[in-house]
């Protein structure tokens, strides 16, 4: 045994260095991707393409928030539109009531859903998976019904306009509403979200929550409290969903109860699962693909639901791990064959 120790020590050292290297890599990759986003409006001239891409990216952020919840908590939210819509309505109501500066409202629109999710999470993350899903749905639908009936201030089913000041964070508000600049803003937000979530997932907290997802009892018997971390994941996911809602409200300057409806939650969930939530970036990819395909099919035929539905069935049956699962598998195969080649 003693002779083995030096070799082991070397291995131990190598492994810890590899772990330390990851963080700068993530930051660097995120920086490059964000920078690439700035080039897009120059390459893509069409306003139409840019506005579609902007909407796709906003959906991608929502899908990412759902995917993160699945990945870290193993829980599926059927009502994530609640956080999206909550944020959008907070922006709109603040515009109407002038309760606080719009900059503060942006932060509040992210913080309030997060706080709400945290305290709700303390109660509901313990439920069986399907019950959790249904309760998130229940909360979202209750909010939907509330906004549908709140005619006085929120315009009921007619929705309400989001009144914004002429400058937000020192940036001309027009930039948040023109597709070419808003694409860059949303894209950077998406990249930042994915980078931050990736770092969180790799941190101790991320590993801990996956451990709890896998085996909550064992996590308790290695000494961890398991409730708060799960509620925190829910809160973080809600904050990201809220961010998507803020971007949506800025870009569209209009909110309706549809932003809380279960069909939006369902669609975002589909995007997340198609993309494969086991990779942080999977749901975003799924969202972009789903959005583009749905749009293209909608242009072609009014029978788009059948085509989308059939594709959904085929894709999930063939790729139960989602697109990211497939890419990861290909990547692994590729690496293995290269290693085999070397040997």
């Amino acid at each position: 045994m003693s002779s083995a120790v030096p070799r082991d020590k070397a291995k131990v050292a190598a492994a810890s260095i590899a772990a330390e290297r990851r963080t700068p890599t993530v930051v660097l990759a995120a920086g490059l991707l964000a920078a690439a986003g700035f080039a897009v409006p120059w390459v893509v001239g069409s306003q139409l393409a840019l506005t579609l891409m902007t909407q796709a990216v906003i959906h991608a952020i929502l899908a990412t928030s759902i995917g993160f919840m699945i990945r870290q908590n193993g829980l599926t939210s059927f009502g994530h539109a609640a956080f999206f819509g909550m944020a959008a309505y907070l922006m709109a109501l603040n515009g109407k009531l002038d309760a606080m500066p719009a900059e503060l409202a942006v932060l509040a629109a992210i913080a309030v859903p997060a706080a709400f999710a945290f305290f709700a999470g303390l109660i509901i993350v313990r439920l069986p998976a399907l019950s959790f899903s249904m309760l998130t749905l229940a909360v979202a639908q209750s909010l939907y019904e509330l906004m549908l009936r709140w005619r006085g201030l929120a315009g009921g089913d007619d929705g309400m306009a989001v009144r914004l000041p002429s400058r937000l964070f020192g940036i001309d508000i027009e930039l948040f509403q023109a597709p070419s600049s808003m694409f860059v803003v949303s894209w950077c937000a998406l990249v930042a979200v994915i980078a931050i979530l990736t770092l969180v997932a790799r941190s101790h907290f991320g590993v801990l929550t996956v451990a709890i997802r896998e085996n909550e009892e064992r996590a308790r018997y290695v000494g961890y409290h398991t409730l708060v971390p799960r509620a925190l994941v829910f809160a973080l996911s809600a904050a990201v969903g809220g961010l998507a809602g803020v971007l949506f409200a800025l870009y569209n300057a209009f909110v309706t109860p549809g932003a809380l409806h279960w069909s939006l939650s369902g669609e975002a969930l589909i995007m997340a699962v198609i993309g494969g939530p086991q990779a942080i970036w999977g749901p975003a990819l799924g969202a972009v693909i789903f959005f583009v395909v749905k749009n293209a099919m909608g242009d072609l035929t009014e029978h788009w639901p059948a085509i989308i539905g059939a594709m959904l069935i085929v894709v999930t049956v063939l790729l139960p791990q989602g697109i990211s699962g497939l890419l990861n598998r290909l990547n692994r195969l590729n690496r293995r064959s290269r290693e085999a080649g070397k040997a």
């Binding site: 929705g159 932003a259 909608g298 009014e302």
Partner: protein
């Protein structure tokens, strides 16, 4: 059935199109591109179908006659599923693709979502079946127009009709959202003005599956008459269940959007004898309308235009005439020609008010009865345009 109708229609129009193409009269001018963001799927797809057929009819008719102002008319439909967010997305897409003169969306909330963006997209929109007062009121826009009767016009029709009724006690059943609530209020005011009492007010949620609770409440209230503001699926479900409870036999029933051409076709005898506000009816006896109805029957054999179809056709007439008058398809020019202009529609000569962009037109009241052997809402009372479309909406600041 529908398919064979379509096939005939397409066949006819293909002949017409090729005849005109031979002369290639419109090769030189920029085409008129009309975008229709409407409900092709989802809960309102049936209404979407009605307006779609009217738009297609108008476009084919115009092209067969050599186009509008010598321009070919092109049309593109995109699905909104009646969701305001999606409507806005699809309308933006249509506008950016050049289909920047738009019309025929189903839900008011969709139009209200599209309205504020029209300037940014450099587009124009003509509402044809959406009734929310705000469209030509609080939320009116320079590029937003409406040809159909708004809610306040329907409210204005209730009172003259109610004055002729002997029933003293009334109940209200209206869908629990802006339109239903607004209609309920309109009825309440009309009842107060004509000395009737409202003994029971019910606002069932949108998309209810069971109306028994409300039907029972109306039965228990001792009402002699009932005002119903339910539409589409809600209307059909309510009517079927109310009939089973014998409600229609016990109280005089009247409504808005409750018995439309579409719902009457589905419900048949269930709603026979129900009174209703009629915004448009194929039974209207004017020369222009008679011609429209007979041309429609040629294009879609065995069919006649529905209320929503007729209203949408009016919208198309207004667009075509405005384009001709402007001599341009640029939304800014067409809007200028539209505001304050007068238009020859199937309801006669009508003014598009420049103050609020509302087309001034008459409104009607009638009853569901057999016309030429088919059950449908038939006009019994005409409320002239000055009464039906009272002064420009003061909330609108253009």
């Amino acid at each position: 059935m529908i398919d064979s109708k379509r096939a005939t229609f397409l066949g006819l129009s293909a002949v017409a199109v090729s005849a005109v193409l031979a002369t290639s009269a419109w090769a030189a001018k920029e085409p008129l591109k009309i975008g229709v963001p409407t409900s092709l799927t989802g809960p309102y797809s049936q209404l979407g179908d009605e307006v779609k057929r009217a738009v297609e009819f108008a476009v084919n008719e115009a092209n067969a006659a050599g186009g509008v102002d010598g321009r070919k008319v092109e049309v593109r439909f995109l699905d909104t599923e009646a969701k305001p967010d999606l409507a806005r997305q699809q309308a933006e897409k249509l506008a950016l693709e050049g289909y920047n003169i738009m019309t025929a969306t189903i839900a008011s909330s969709e139009v209200l979502a599209i309205g504020p963006m029209l300037g940014r997209w450099n587009a124009l929109y003509v509402a044809t079946v959406t009734k929310a007062n705000d469209i030509t009121g609080k939320q009116c826009q320079p590029r937003l127009f409406r040809v159909n009767r708004p809610d306040y016009s329907d409210a204005a029709v209730i009172q003259p009709w109610l004055a002729t009724r002997s029933e003293a006690k009334w109940a209200i059943v209206a869908a629990d959202y802006a339109w239903g609530r607004g209609s309920g209020e309109g009825f309440r005011n009309a009842a107060a003005a004509t000395g009737k009492t409202v003994v029971s007010e019910n606002y069932p949620p949108l998309g209810s599956n069971d109306y028994a609770a409300f039907i029972q409440k109306v039965l228990d209230s001792g009402a002699q008459g009932m005002w119903v503001a339910l539409a589409g699926r809600d209307a059909i479900t309510f009517a079927r269940q109310a009939k089973q409870f014998g409600l229609f036999d016990k109280v005089t029933t009247a409504g808005i959007s409750f018995t439309t051409d579409g719902t009457v076709k589905v419900l048949g005898d269930v709603v026979k004898g129900i009174n209703t506000i009629i915004n448009y009816s194929a039974t209207l006896d004017t020369p222009a309308n008679r011609k429209f109805v007979s041309d429609w029957a040629k294009a879609y054999p065995g069919d006649s235009p529905t209320n929503f179809g007729g209203e949408t056709y009016i919208g198309m007439q207004v667009i075509f005439q405005a384009v001709k008058k402007a001599g341009s398809v640029k939304p800014a020019d067409v809007a200028k020609a539209m505001a304050g202009g007068t238009f020859e529609t199937i309801l006669g000569t009508q003014l598009m008010r420049k103050e609020d962009h509302q087309l001034v037109g008459p409104n009607y009241f009638g009853i569901v009865e057999a016309v030429n052997g088919t059950l449908r809402p038939a006009i019994k009372m005409t409320v002239p345009a000055q009464t039906a479309t009272p002064g420009p909406d003061a909330n609108c600041k253009l």
